[in-house]
C-alpha cells in the first residue's frame, strides 16, 4: 500500500498536509437491475494550491466522485471509504456540519451556468447569500461591497449595474464568471470545477479559464478540474488523474501523462485527438468499442475488451494501481511495455470500423442485446486497393461487389 500512497500524493506521505484526502472511495447505486458500482476505489490527495485535473469519458465516474466529496449524492447512494478535508472526515457528517464545509471549505462550479444560478434572484442577492451564510454578522452593505469586488475580479464590466441584474440578462460566459465569483466568495481551500467550460464557445472558454486562474491566485485554493478536454487540462493542471470505468487508471504529473503515458487507455485517448497545431494530415487511432456497463462489472481489467494489448490474465485479474515512476502510477499489468512508446499507432489500429455493440463482450452487463453474438463483428478483411474509389452507383449492386464494399479502409496509407 505504501507504493500507492506515494503515487496518489505528490510528496512524502509522512509530511503531507493534504487539504483533501480521498481514500478508497466507492459509490454504489442500488437499482432494480442490480447495483451500479459507479466509483470503484478512487484515492487521491490534493495539496494546497494544487490543480488536479480529472479526465475520462462520460460515465467514467469523474462527476460522481466530486458529488460524493461535496456530499451531494442522493439518499440511495451507498458511499464507502474516506474523504478527509483538512483531517476531518466528511463521510457520515450531518447535513448541518456539511453546510459549513460547502462553500467555505470546498466550493463547486458546475457545468451549466444557467441551472446553477437561481433565475428569480438578482446576482447581487445570490453573491450576498453565499457570503452571509458563512459570516452571519456581515452587514448588507459589506456584503454588497464584497460582491462588487468579486464581480470586478472575475472581469464583469460595469459591476455596479450588473449586480442588480438577473441571471437571464447575462450571457453564458458572464454567468459562469458569476458562478466562479460565488465559488471564491469565502476563500475556500478547494474549488471543484466540474466541466466549467464545456457549455461555452472556445473564445469564451479561454476567458473563463483565465478567470479561474485569477480566482486561484486570489484565494490560493486548490482546484479539482473535471473535464473531458485534454487541452484544457494540459494548460491548467499540475497533476492529472485519468479515470476509466469508475476507477483511476493513471495518475501522474501533467508531463508524465502527456509525454510518458503508461496505461493503454491514456495512450488511446491522446491518439484519438485531432491536433490543430499539427499540419500533416494524420490518421487518428480511435479506441474501438464502448466503455463497459458499471452494473455487475466482470472481473479483470475493465478496459480489456477495448485494449489492443490485452492478454488472457487481463480478463481474470484486475491490475492494481501501482507506481511506475516517481509520483506516477498506473493500473495496467503491462505498463512496462509502454515505456518506449513513440506513437499511439504502435499499439492502436488506425481504423474506422466499430468493434461491436456496447457491452457486447460480456453476458453479465446490462445488455439489451444479450442474445447478440458476442464480439461478433468480424475484423474486416484488408482491402488491397485501399485508395481506389468506388462509384456510388456500385453501392447498390448486390453480392458480387460486397467483399469490396464491406472492407472500410482498415489502414490509412496516409498515416505518418
Amino acid at each position: 500500500m505504501t507504493e500507492l500512497l506515494d503515487v496518489r500524493d505528490g510528496t512524502d506521505p509522512g509530511t503531507s498536509v493534504a487539504v483533501l484526502d480521498v481514500d478508497d472511495l466507492n459509490v454504489r447505486f442500488p437499482t432494480s437491475d442490480g447495483v451500479v458500482h459507479a466509483v470503484r476505489g478512487v484515492s487521491y490527495r490534493l495539496q494546497p494550491g494544487e490543480v488536479l485535473g480529472i479526465v475520462g469519458e462520460s460515465g467514467s465516474g469523474k462527476s460522481v466522485t466530486s458529488m460524493a466529496v461535496m456530499g451531494l449524492l442522493g439518499k440511495s447512494a451507498r458511499v464507502t471509504g474516506s474523504i478527509k478535508f483538512r483531517g476531518r472526515e466528511l463521510l457520515g457528517m450531518g447535513d448541518r456540519d456539511m453546510s459549513g464545509v460547502r462553500g467555505r471549505g470546498i466550493a463547486m462550479v458546475f457545468q451549466d451556468p444557467m441551472t446553477s444560478l437561481n433565475p428569480v434572484y438578482k446576482i447581487g442577492h445570490q453573491l450576498a447569500e453565499a457570503l452571509q451564510t458563512h459570516v452571519p454578522d456581515m452587514s448588507d452593505d459589506d456584503a454588497r461591497r464584497r460582491s462588487l469586488e468579486l464581480l470586478d475580479l472575475v472581469g464583469i464590466p460595469d459591476a455596479k449595474q450588473r449586480v442588480d441584474q438577473y441571471p437571464h440578462e447575462f450571457s453564458g460566459g458572464m454567468r459562469q464568471r458569476v458562478v466562479i465569483a460565488i465559488a471564491m466568495a469565502n476563500q475556500p481551500d478547494v474549488i471543484i470545477a466540474d466541466e466549467p467550460t464545456t457549455a461555452l464557445d472556445v473564445t469564451v472558454q479561454a476567458q473563463v479559464l483565465d478567470v479561474l486562474r485569477a480566482a486561484q491566485r486570489e484565494t490560493h485554493s486548490a482546484i479539482v478540474l473535471i473535464t473531458h478536454d485534454l487541452g484544457v487540462v494540459a494548460g491548467m493542471a499540475d497533476r492529472v488523474m485519468v479515470m476509466y470505468a469508475g476507477r483511476p487508471v493513471e495518475l501522474g504529473s501533467v508531463e508524465d501523462i502527456y509525454y510518458r503515458p503508461r496505461m493503454p487507455y491514456t495512450v488511446g485517448l491522446l491518439g484519438s485527438l485531432p491536433r490543430v497545431d499539427i499540419g500533416e494530415r494524420q490518421r487518428l487511432t480511435p479506441i474501438q468499442g464502448s466503455p463497459p456497463s458499471l452494473l455487475n462489472l466482470p472481473p479483470g481489467c475493465p478496459f480489456t475488451p477495448r485494449c489492443p494489448m490485452s492478454r488472457p490474465n487481463c480478463e481474470t485479474e484486475e491490475p492494481l494501481f501501482r507506481s511506475v515512476g516517481a509520483e506516477h502510477g498506473a493500473a495496467c499489468h503491462y505498463s512496462e511495455e509502454l515505456r518506449d512508446l513513440e506513437h499511439s499507432a504502435e499499439i492502436f489500429d488506425v481504423t474506422s470500423t466499430d468493434a461491436g455493440l456496447p457491452s457486447d463482450d460480456g453476458p453479465q452487463a446490462i445488455d439489451p442485446l444479450k442474445d447478440g453474438p458476442v464480439g461478433s463483428t468480424p475484423e474486416p478483411p484488408r482491402d488491397d486497393d485501399d485508395g481506389a474509389r468506388i462509384p456510388t452507383s456500385e453501392l447498390g449492386t448486390p453480392a458480387g461487389d460486397r467483399p469490396h464494399l464491406e472492407a472500410p479502409a482498415n489502414e490509412g496509407p496516409g498515416y505518418q
Binding site: L273, R275, P286, D354, T392, P398
Partner: protein
C-alpha cells in the same frame, strides 16, 4: 492517399455547388394582437462560396454565427430569403418543395444529435431504408443494399433489426451516416457530426467520414465549432462570424497563415493537448460576447471585440472599420479575407 496533389483544388468545371450572396433572415414580430414586422435576425447575411466535387469544406464559427442555418439553407430545409444556390446546374432557391424533392437525393444531411435524429420506434433497417421507399426506389435488392450500407459505415449488418436505443452514441451516428448515404448523394452536409461524441469514439467516426469521401467521391460541407477536427478533415475552411464569412482558404493556408483577427483569436483560444506548448503560448483574449445578429455593429461586425481595432489602429483607421463593411477579397495574402487591415500572423507555430 491524402497527398498534396489530391488536396489541390480542381478546375472550376469541378464545381458542384455555387453559393452566392445567400441571406437568411428570421423576422422579429412585435407583441400584441396585431403583430408588426419590427426587424430581422440576420442569421446568415450575404455569404458566397463554392464547393467542388470530392472536396470537404469546413464551416467554423462560434454558436450563433449562422453556420447551421447555412447548412439548412443549402438543403432548402429553411429556404434562403435572398441569394442564389446553384447545385449541379439547378437553382435551388426558387424551387418549390415538390420540385426540390428529386434533388434531395443528391444532397443529404447528418445531424448533430444522434439520439434525437433517429426515430426510436423504427428498427435500423427501416431507418436506413426509409429514404429509398420515399423516393420510390425500393426493390427486391434493397434489403441487401441496406446490409451493404451498414457494413460500409462499420456496423455489423446482422444488427439491422435492432432499435436505436440498443446502440451507443457513436454507432447511432454511423446509422445516421448510412441513412444519408442510402440515396447515393453527391453532397453531404454534416452538421456537427461528432461534437456529441466522446473523443475516443469521435476519432472512429472521423476516420469513417474520410474513408467514405475517398471511396465514394463525396463532397462534404462539414459544420463544426471544433477547429482541431476541422483542420483534420477539411480541404478548405470558411470561418464565419455573425452571419458572414470573414476568411476562407485552403486548410493549411488558413491554419498556418491566418489573416483575419477573428481567425487568429479563434486559433489562439484552442487549448492544445500538449502541456509544454500550451503553457508557452501567448493568447489573444477576446473581450465581451458576440453581439446580437438582430442588430449587428455597423461596418465590420467584429470591431466591437477586435483586439486589433482596440489596440493597434488609430482613429482614422478605426473610422473605416466603423463605416465600411470589409469585402471578402484577396488582400495580397493568397486567400480571401474580410478585414481592412488584414495581416498574416502565425498563431500555431
Amino acid at each position: 492517399m491524402t497527398t498534396t496533389a489530391e488536396r489541390t483544388p480542381g478546375p472550376d468545371d469541378d464545381l458542384i455547388m455555387k453559393v452566392t450572396d445567400v441571406e437568411k433572415y428570421f423576422p422579429i414580430m412585435s407583441k400584441g394582437v396585431i403583430r408588426h414586422h419590427v426587424g430581422d435576425v440576420k442569421a446568415v447575411d450575404g455569404i458566397s462560396f463554392n464547393l467542388r466535387r470530392n472536396e470537404t469544406l469546413g464551416l467554423v464559427g462560434e454558436s450563433g454565427c449562422g453556420k447551421s442555418t447555412t447548412g439548412r439553407a443549402l438543403l432548402h430545409l429553411q429556404p434562403a430569403t435572398a441569394g442564389s444556390i446553384v447545385f449541379d446546374g439547378h437553382e435551388l432557391t426558387t424551387l418549390s418543395q415538390r420540385a426540390m424533392r428529386p434533388l434531395r437525393r443528391d444532397i443529404q444531411i447528418v445531424f448533430q444529435d444522434p439520439y434525437a435524429s433517429l426515430d426510436p420506434r423504427m428498427p435500423v433497417n427501416s431507418i436506413v431504408g426509409e429514404a429509398m421507399r420515399i423516393h420510390g426506389l425500393w426493390n427486391k435488392e434493397s434489403t441487401e443494399r441496406i446490409r451493404v450500407l451498414l457494413g460500409l459505415v462499420g456496423l455489423n449488418p446482422e444488427h439491422g433489426n435492432r432499435f436505436p436505443h440498443e446502440f451507443s452514441g457513436g454507432q447511432r451516428q454511423r446509422i445516421g451516416i448510412a441513412r444519408a448515404l442510402a440515396l447515393e448523394p453527391k453532397v453531404l452536409v454534416l452538421d456537427e457530426p461528432v461534437s456529441a461524441l466522446d473523443v475516443s469514439i469521435q476519432a472512429g467516426v472521423i476516420n469513417l467520414l474520410e474513408d467514405l469521401k475517398n471511396r465514394l467521391g463525396l463532397a462534404y460541407i462539414f459544420i463544426a465549432h471544433d477547429l482541431s477536427v476541422v483542420r483534420h478533415i477539411s480541404d478548405r475552411v470558411a470561418v464565419m462570424y455573425l452571419g458572414k464569412i470573414v476568411e476562407i482558404a485552403d486548410t493549411s493556408e488558413l491554419f498556418e497563415r491566418p489573416a483575419h483577427p477573428y481567425t487568429q483569436s479563434l486559433l489562439s483560444a484552442i487549448p492544445l493537448p500538449d502541456p509544454r506548448r500550451e503553457r508557452a503560448r501567448e493568447r489573444i483574449l477576446l473581450t465581451g460576447d458576440v453581439p446580437s445578429p438582430a442588430n449587428p455593429p455597423s461596418g465590420c461586425r467584429f470591431r466591437t471585440r477586435c483586439p486589433k481595432f482596440a489596440n493597434q489602429l488609430d482613429d482614422s483607421q478605426r473610422e473605416q472599420c466603423v463605416n465600411e463593411i470589409p469585402a471578402l477579397d484577396d488582400r495580397g495574402m493568397g486567400h480571401d479575407v474580410a478585414c481592412h487591415y488584414a495581416e498574416v500572423v502565425d498563431i500555431l507555430a
